[in-house]
C-alpha cells in the first residue's frame, strides 16, 4: 500500500468514526462543554457523569423526545 492510500483510508475511517459518534449522541457532552465555554465562560461545567444522567432523565420528563415511529 502506498502512503497516499493509507492516508486516504485513514481519513475515510476518521469520517466514519465522526459520523457514528455524532449519530449515537456520544458527542453531546463535548458539544455541551463547547457551548458553555463559548456563551457562559464563567459558568461551571458539569461532569460528564452528571451531564449524561441529566440527559437521559430529561427523556423521563417528556417522553416525546426521541420518540420512535411504527
Amino acid at each position: 500500500m502506498t502512503v497516499k492510500s493509507v492516508k486516504s483510508a485513514k481519513s475515510v475511517g476518521a469520517k466514519i468514526w465522526w459520523y457514528v459518534r455524532e449519530l449515537t449522541g456520544e458527542t453531546a457532552y463535548e458539544r455541551y462543554v463547547a457551548h458553555v465555554r463559548k456563551d457562559h465562560p464563567d459558568a461551571p461545567v458539569q461532569s460528564r457523569r452528571a451531564f449524561e444522567r441529566e440527559r437521559t432523565d430529561r427523556q423521563e420528563a417528556d417522553p416525546r423526545q426521541g420518540f420512535r415511529c411504527c
Binding site: 449519530l23 449515537t24 456520544e26 453531546a28 449524561e52 440527559r55 423521563e60 416525546r64 415511529c69 411504527c70
Partner: protein, 738 residues
C-alpha cells in the same frame, strides 16, 4: 404548471448538458423498470426491475419535485436562522450536521410498519403495493414529512397537536389530540400482536428476544455507572451479545429447556403486558435508552445489509403481479378490495401520519438550515419507502403457496399441514405438506403455518436472500431468527416508548382535573396512567390473539385507518398553513394528497362500518354471528364454539365503534380546517400566523448531501472571514467534518 410572471425569486440558471444527459438516463432506468413491471404477465421477473423502477422514480422525484416544493412552495430561506441556531442551548436545540440529522430522523421514522404493511399487501400481488409505495411516497408521504418539518421549524419545533390548536382552533386541536391517543393504543396493540404471532410456539425466538432484556440492562448500567456516554463501544458490545443470543437460541431450542421457552400466544400476551408496564415505569436509562441504541444499530445495519443482499442475490419474484384478490376482495390475509385496502394496509411505507409527530418534535429543533428540510424530510421518507420496497421483495420471492400458508389465519388453514395445503389450493395456489414441513425445519421452527403479522414472512424472505449470499441453506435458520430479532427489538422499543408517550398525554389531560397527576415524579400517578395505557393496548392485543377470525385480519385495517387518519390531520394542518400564509395557488401540493387520503380513509371506514359483506363490515359480522347465536347454532363460519361466536360479536362491536369514531374525528378536523381556510381566503389580510420572528442566520451550510459549486464558494468565503476576525462563529459547526 402555472408560471406567474411576478415570481422573481427564482434565479436564472443555465442547465448543463451533462446534467441533462444524467437525468435523462435516470429517467430511462426508472421508465424501463416500470415498463418491465407493467408488461410482464405470467412470467417471473427479477427483483432488479422493481429496484430500477423505484430508485429511478425516487431520484427524479427528489431532484425535481422536492426541489420545486422547497423553493417555490415553501420558499425555504437560507438567510433565515432556524430555532436550532437562535435558541441553541447545546442540548435539545442545536444546529446539527445535515447528514447526521438525516440519520437521526431516518432512525426515528423507520420502524416495523414499512416491513409489515407491504408484506400483507402482497396478497394482491407485487404490483399494486409497489405502485402505491412509490407514487404514495413521492406525492404524499415525503411531501407531508417535509412540509410538517418546515412549518414546525418555523414555529420553534412545535408539535403537530400544538400547531393544530394554534392554527386551526381548539376544537380541531382537541380532535387531533384524541386521534393521536386512540391511534397510539391501536398501534401498540397491533405491533405487539405482530411479535406475539412471530414468537408463539418458537422457543428459539422467545429465548433470544428474552435475552435482549438482560443485555439492555447491562448496557444501561454500563452507561450509567461504568462509562457514562460511551454509546458506541457499549452498542458494539451489545450487538455482539445479541448475535450470541440468536446463535444460542438454537441450542436452547434443541435442549431440554425448549419446553420452558415454548409459549402459547395467550401466555405471550401476559408477558407482553407485564413487560410493557414494567418497562414504562422503570427509569429511562435502565431499559429504554440502551434498547433504543441497540435497535437503532440493528435497524440501520440490517437495512444496509438487506439492500446489499437484494442487489447481490437479485432474486426472482414468484408472486403474481396482480392476484385475483385485488378485485375480489376475498383474500385470506385481510379482507376488502384493492381500493381502499391496499392503501390502508401499506400505510407507513408510503404515507405515515406518525412521521408528522417526529417531524414536529425532535428534528425541527436540530435543523441547521431551512434549506435542509428537503434532504431530511423528503430524503428520509424516500429511504423509508425503499425499505418498504425491500419488504415487498422479501414477501414476493417466496413461493406464493408458502406465502399464503404463513399469512392465513389458523381458522382458515385448519389444524394440520394437509388441511393447510388444501386451504392454499382453494385460494388458487399450491404447496404440498412436505414442503411446508421442510420450510419450517429450514428455519428451525416447529411450524410456520399461520404465522400472521408479516414479520415471519419478511424473515423468511430475508433468510432466503441472505443465505444466497452468505452461508447457504445451512445459515437460513440463523438469518430467519436474526430478522425476527431485528423486528422484535424495535417493536419492543416502540411498545415501551409509545406507552410512555400515551401516559404523558394522559397525565397532561387528566392533570387538568386532578393537579398532581401532571407531575412526572409522582409515582401513583405514573403507575395509574401507565396501567391505563397498557390496559388499553393489552385489551386489543388479547382480543387479537383470541379472535377466531384472526387478529391481524381484524385489527390491521384499524391500525391502517388510524395511521392514515393521523396523516389526514397532518396534511390538513399543512394545507391550512399554506392557505393562511397566502399560498392558495400552491395549496394543491398538500391538498391533493389530503383529498386522496381522506377518500381512502373514509371509504375504508365506511366499508368497515356499513358493508354488508361479513368479511369486511364489522357490524355485518356482528349481526351474522348474533343471528347464528340466536338461532341456537353450535358453530358458525370459523367459530367452532358458541364462546368463539360470542367473542366475535363483542370484538366486531368494539372494532366497528372504533372505526366510526375514527371517521367522526377526521370529519371534525377537516370541517374545522375548512372553516379556517375559507375565512383566510375571504379575508386574506386577517389570517394570523404563529411563526417565530425572523432573525438573520450566521451559519453557512450546504442544503443537500453534497455541496454545490456555489455552496463551496460560500463555505470557503465564510471560513476565510471567520479565520480573519478570529471568531469561530457558526461556520465550523456548519461545515461539519471537512
Amino acid at each position: 404548471m402555472p408560471e406567474p410572471a411576478t415570481d422573481t425569486a427564482r434565479p436564472q440558471r443555465k442547465i448543463s448538458t451533462k446534467s441533462v444527459v444524467i437525468w435523462t438516463l435516470v429517467g430511462l432506468i426508472g421508465a424501463t423498470g416500470w415498463g418491465v413491471l407493467a408488461l410482464s404477465r405470467g412470467e417471473e421477473i427479477s427483483a432488479a426491475w422493481l429496484l430500477a423502477a423505484a430508485l429511478g422514480s425516487y431520484a427524479i422525484a427528489y431532484r425535481f419535485y422536492s426541489k420545486f416544493i422547497a423553493n417555490r412552495v415553501l420558499k425555504v430561506d437560507k438567510k433565515r436562522a432556524t430555532p436550532a441556531e437562535r435558541l441553541d442551548n447545546g442540548v435539545d436545540f442545536h444546529p446539527t450536521d445535515r447528514r447526521v440529522l438525516f440519520g437521526h430522523h431516518f432512525a426515528a421514522v423507520a420502524g416495523a410498519g414499512p416491513l409489515v404493511g407491504p408484506v400483507l399487501a402482497a396478497q394482491m400481488g407485487y404490483l399494486p403495493g409497489t405502485i402505491w409505495i412509490v407514487a404514495g411516497v413521492i406525492f404524499a408521504g415525503a411531501v407531508q414529512d417535509m412540509v410538517v418539518l418546515f412549518f414546525s421549524t418555523r414555529r420553534n419545533g412545535k408539535s403537530l397537536g400544538q400547531m393544530a390548536r394554534d392554527e386551526i382552533g381548539p376544537f380541531g386541536g382537541a380532535a387531533a389530540l384524541v386521534a393521536v391517543f386512540a391511534i397510539m393504543i391501536i398501534l401498540l396493540a397491533v405491533l405487539a400482536l405482530v411479535i406475539v404471532n412471530a414468537l408463539a410456539h418458537s422457543p428459539w425466538g422467545v429465548f433470544s428476544i428474552a435475552m435482549t432484556i438482560p443485555i439492555a440492562l447491562f448496557m444501561g448500567v454500563y452507561l450509567r455507572i461504568l462509562r457514562p456516554g460511551r454509546v458506541t463501544e457499549v452498542s458494539v458490545l451489545g450487538v455482539a451479545l445479541l448475535l450470541l443470543a440468536i446463535v444460542s437460541g438454537r441450542w436452547v431450542a434443541e435442549s431440554s429447556w425448549a419446553e420452558a421457552f415454548t409459549l402459547a400466544p395467550s401466555s405471550l400476551v401476559i408477558w407482553m403486558v407485564a413487560y410493557g408496564f414494567l418497562a414504562s415505569v422503570l427509569p429511562v436509562w435502565m431499559l429504554l435508552a440502551p434498547r433504543d441504541y441497540l435497535s437503532t444499530f440493528m435497524k440501520i445495519g440490517t437495512i444496509v445489509l438487506l439492500a446489499l443482499g437484494v442487489v447481490i442475490a437479485m432474486p426472482t419474484m414468484k408472486m403474481d403481479a396482480v392476484t385475483e384478490f385485488a378485485t375480489s376482495g376475498a383474500g385470506p390475509v385481510f379482507a376488502g378490495s384493492m381500493f381502499p385496502f391496499v392503501f390502508i394496509t401499506i400505510a407507513c411505507g408510503a404515507l405515515s401520519g406518525f412521521h408528522a409527530l417526529v417531524s414536529s418534535g425532535t428534528t425541527p429543533k436540530m435543523v441547521q438550515k431551512e434549506t435542509q428540510v428537503r434532504l431530511i424530510g423528503y430524503g428520509s421518507m424516500l429511504t423509508e419507502s425503499f425499505v418498504a420496497i425491500m419488504a415487498v421483495i422479501c414477501a414476493c420471492i417466496l413461493e406464493p403457496g408458502l406465502y399464503f400458508a404463513v399469512n392465513s389465519p389458523a381458522g382458515v388453514l385448519g389444524p394440520t399441514l394437509e388441511s393447510a395445503s388444501e386451504a392454499v389450493k382453494s385460494f388458487g395456489f399450491s404447496i404440498d405438506p412436505a414442503t411446508l414441513a421442510q420450510a419450517a425445519k429450514d428455519v428451525g421452527e416447529p411450524s410456520i403455518t399461520s404465522k400472521t403479522g408479516g414479520a415471519p414472512t419478511f424473515a423468511l424472505g430475508m433468510s432466503e436472500i441472505f443465505s444466497a449470499v452468505i452461508g447457504g441453506a445451512g445459515m437460513k435458520a440463523f438469518w430467519y431468527h436474526f430478522a425476527i430479532m431485528f423486528e422484535a427489538l424495535f417493536i419492543l422499543t416502540t411498545v415501551d416508548a409509545g406507552t410512555r408517550v400515551g401516559r404523558f398525554m394522559l397525565q397532561d389531560t387528566l392533570g387538568n382535573i386532578y393537579k398532581p397527576l401532571k407531575r412526572v415524579s409522582w409515582w401513583p400517578g405514573v403507575w395509574l396512567t401507565s396501567a391505563i395505557v397498557v390496559g388499553g393496548w393489552g385489551y386489543f392485543l388479547w382480543v387479537g390473539v383470541h379472535d377466531p377470525l384472526g387478529g391481524i385480519n381484524q385489527l390491521f385495517p384499524l391500525f391502517g385507518i388510524a395511521n392514515q387518519l393521523l396523516a389526514a390531520v397532518a396534511l390538513a394542518v399543512c394545507t391550512t398553513l399554506l392557505i393562511k400564509s397566502g399560498r392558495l395557488k400552491w395549496a394543491w401540493v398538500t391538498g391533493i394528497p389530503l383529498l386522496w387520503d381522506v377518500a381512502v380513509t373514509l371509504t375504508a371506514s365506511w366499508q368497515k362500518v356499513f358493508s354488508d359483506d361479513v368479511k369486511v363490515g364489522f357490524f355485518a359480522q356482528r349481526k351474522a354471528y348474533q343471528d347464528a347465536l340466536d338461532s341456537g347454532a353450535e358453530s358458525f363460519g370459523t367459530a367452532k364454539t358458541r364462546d368463539a361466536m360470542e367473542t366475535i360479536v363483542t370484538n366486531a362491536t368494539v372494532d366497528g365503534v372504533l372505526s366510526a369514531l375514527f371517521a367522526i374525528l377526521i370529519i371534525i378536523v377537516l370541517a374545522d380546517a375548512t372553516r379556517v381556510c375559507v375565512k383566510a381566503i375571504r379575508n386574506p389580510g386577517t389570517a394570523e400566523l404563529k411563526e417565530a420572528e425572523y432573525v438573520e442566520s450566521k451559519i453557512v451550510a450546504p442544503a443537500g448531501l453534497w455541496p454545490t459549486a456555489e455552496e463551496k464558494a460560500e463555505l470557503a468565503a465564510a471560513a476565510g472571514a471567520a479565520g480573519s476576525d478570529g471568531t469561530s462563529g457558526g461556520t465550523p459547526v456548519a461545515a461539519g467534518k471537512p
